[in-house]
Symmetry: C2
Subunit: 448 residues, 2 copies
């Protein structure tokens, strides 16, 4: 979001080198809004204005620019200033940005960082995309269980500005093994007993994420347990970092958007729609279009097989698109409903009987309804009212096939350990198209 | 999630009336896991076990049962115990549950609640679904700006157990007008200056939600500003409540799932897929199937118009489903990509030129590719290699039409203030089907 309201004033202040007003501009408003007002500036001007903010505030404002802009600034501005800024960016965001810098730029910046930050970046870089490790931040309040309530509050006060979240305290032993957690809520509620220790207060049955756990599974835990943050541990239960709620919203958004793309037969994009390379985009769409194309070719061969009938009853041809689309649309409705219900945890695999039972009823209702409309139209185009019966009969059968396969394929793919969103719709479309044609011509053969 | 591991033990403890062990069971584990272990019990047993937990803990465990179960328990169990529990449920969840009780049950429970809770429920019930008001909780830390850091911490300590979140303090004047916010982080960081007031610390440029603001817009603010909670105010800036991050995840999930349903031409369901009434479900699917059906009818009339050509070149019929599905699939890819990119804020309306430019290039690449495969097949089915050229030429044109309308209709609908997700795909399908047929036959007329 760019807000041009203050751009002229900002440019004027820069031209006049008006430090007092620039400092005031940087520090008065909410950091997010400050960022919006600055975003219309050129890189150099924007960077110059940023230097008037305190170091922490600067990192906070910077965090609101869009990612492409952030990378551009880190890539192009004065290395020492960049390093000073990088030092203050939350460790999880910092790694994501660092991985987008050119190799030579990263090599320029890294040596300018304190040793601890350098090691932190290198360590976090090593986790695979899509795992808990790739989302976590290592800035976490690790305290000993012998610390008292008042001692913990004091320790927290000293560290607060460096931590991404202070809302849980993680109690660890001398080897950093996770022993328990204390929420700041509990800590604050225990202020009247300041000499109790964290060991007394802590909850030891902690929900954790394994460092190589899939991000979707991590997001489910955070949602289910309503957590503000989840600790990330290695297989020996050593505390490595935490994942905070804002990253979980991103994961949920990413996963659901991927589902939508897969349902529409597009390989999920790793980049924004407007940024991804056009050849890459063509590939991600083309690969599924070709698969669907081969499925549709089967219908061409099936129809080829029925030329004699079609030539005799040419009016049947008019209804081919209608028949196929009725089956395809009801099938994609069923598939999408079942896929989204599985993604959001409303449907489990062992409920397949209930799912199919419901689909059969809905298919019957929908089939009868569309058949009635279809018959009303077919009477006009078909030679006789009896011949017109081919259309409603086919519609009932095709919608049944659509709903049945639409609902069962996602369940079957899930059972096989495949992604139901990716595989279902193309297969449903293929099956319904070819079965639709076969049903249509054979009902016509029977009746005509 | 039901975990049957402890069910036999729990039933035994209940049979023996073993208070000590039941109390221990209720209070030892993480509340979420305790809920999983209990969820396999019948309502009466589950309720009996719950009574062994402290009142706050009981509400916490109860919060992890699925909503249907929660409503069932509130509907059926002993009214006084129910009222005691309801008193402890966070105010936003409590209202949602209350609205699902039968009228007579609600009238039984309401008088048993303290006056303040009763009024709170009645007030929150009055906000429309989908607005900020319907999501908010009224349990919020409202403090005066003259309060000192140590005073605020103490006040917080006293109220902590009743507040849904203690991570922001809201500074209000005597009329409850919102003056500013102080994060608990700032408070804790300021422990060394305990006599500073909240007025000194508070940020006055606060991001707020209006009480009648759409939930999607609220979620965007929370995501953009990385908030743990957002204050909800009326038009006079009186603080009414807050919306917390967990409700925002639910909104994001709900909105994206609605998009997926609309893209597949299903009216979004208000209930879980397995719970919604079958007639209701049939209606939500049928209404769009009928609209799509009428669109497909147009293709039937178009084909009717071309019977002469089709009768002469019956091999053309075989490719009808292939032509239509190539256009339809590329169109639904484009529409889905543009819709999801708009929902996630990657594409703004004024970027339409860039979107269409990119789609034209991708359409060309995809069209040429599929045309090559199509020609290879058509040579076998068409009478001459020249006649076979109809297929690749049509494919290029139809994929172009699909991508172009697929990308532009969501933009146009957005511009008109309609929901792009709801309107685009059916219209794209209709337009592409009919244009596909017209293009196909006219290219055939030219070449044959």
């Amino acid at each position: 979001m760019v807000n041009p309201l203050f751009l002229p004033e900002l440019r004027e202040m820069l031209a006049e080198d008006n430090a007092a007003e620039l400092t005031e501009f940087c520090n008065t408003l909410n950091a997010g809004r400050t960022a919006e007002f600055m975003e219309g500036l050129e890189d150099t001007d924007l960077w110059a204005v940023l230097q008037y903010a305190d170091a922490d505030r600067r990192a906070e404002i910077f965090g609101y620019f869009d990612e492409q802009r952030q990378v551009g600034l880190l890539q192009s501005q004065e290395p020492r200033q960049v390093a000073e800024l990088v030092d203050r960016i939350p460790s999880d965001d910092r790694v994501d940005l660092f991985q987008q810098l050119t190799g030579t730029r990263a090599q320029t910046i890294l040596p300018l960082l304190p040793v601890a930050d350098r090691r932190d970046i290198q360590r976090l870089c090593s986790y695979d995309e899509g795992t808990a490790g790739s989302l976590m931040t290592s800035e976490v309040a690790m305290l000993s269980e012998t610390l008292t309530v008042s001692g913990a509050l004091e320790a927290l006060g000293n560290q607060a500005s460096e931590l991404e979240t202070i809302y849980y305290l993680y109690v660890v032993d001398e080897d950093n093994l996770l022993r328990g957690i204390v929420s700041t809520r509990q800590l604050v509620s225990s202020l009247r007993t300041p000499s109790r220790t964290l060991g007394d207060l802590m909850e030891t049955d902690v929900v954790v994420a394994e460092v190589d756990e899939d991000q979707e599974s991590v997001a489910e835990k955070v949602e289910h347990f309503n957590l503000l943050a989840i600790p990330v541990v290695d297989s020996g239960r050593q505390l490595l970092g935490i994942i905070t709620h804002d990253d979980v919203i991103d994961v949920v958004r990413e996963e659901l958007t991927e589902d939508a793309h897969r349902i529409a037969a597009v390989e999920p994009l790793e980049e924004d729609y407007l940024r991804i390379g056009l050849l890459n985009l063509s590939w991600k769409r083309g690969i599924w279009l070709i698969i669907l194309f081969f499925a549709a070719l089967l219908t061409a061969f099936a129809l080829e097989h029925y030329h004699e009938e079609l030539n005799k009853f040419i009016w049947l041809v008019s209804f081919i698109p209608l028949i196929i689309s009725a089956g395809g649309n009801s099938g994609s409705q069923s598939a999408t409903l079942v896929i989204t219900a599985m993604t959001s945890g409303q449907v489990e695999l062992d409920q397949w009987r209930k799912v199919l039972g419901r689909e059969v009823i809905v298919a019957t209702v929908l089939g009868i309804f569309l058949a009635l409309i279809g018959y009303a139209v077919a009477i006009f185009l078909a030679p006789t009212p009896v011949a017109a019966l081919v259309i409603p009969m086919t519609l009932v059968a095709v919608i049944f096939v659509g709903c049945f396969f639409g609902a069962s394929l996602p369940l079957i793919f899930q059972r096989l350990g495949l992604d139901p969103a990716m595989m279902s719709n193309p297969f449903v479309a293929g099956i319904v198209d070819i079965l639709g044609i076969i049903i249509y011509i054979n009902i016509a053969r029977l009746l005509l």
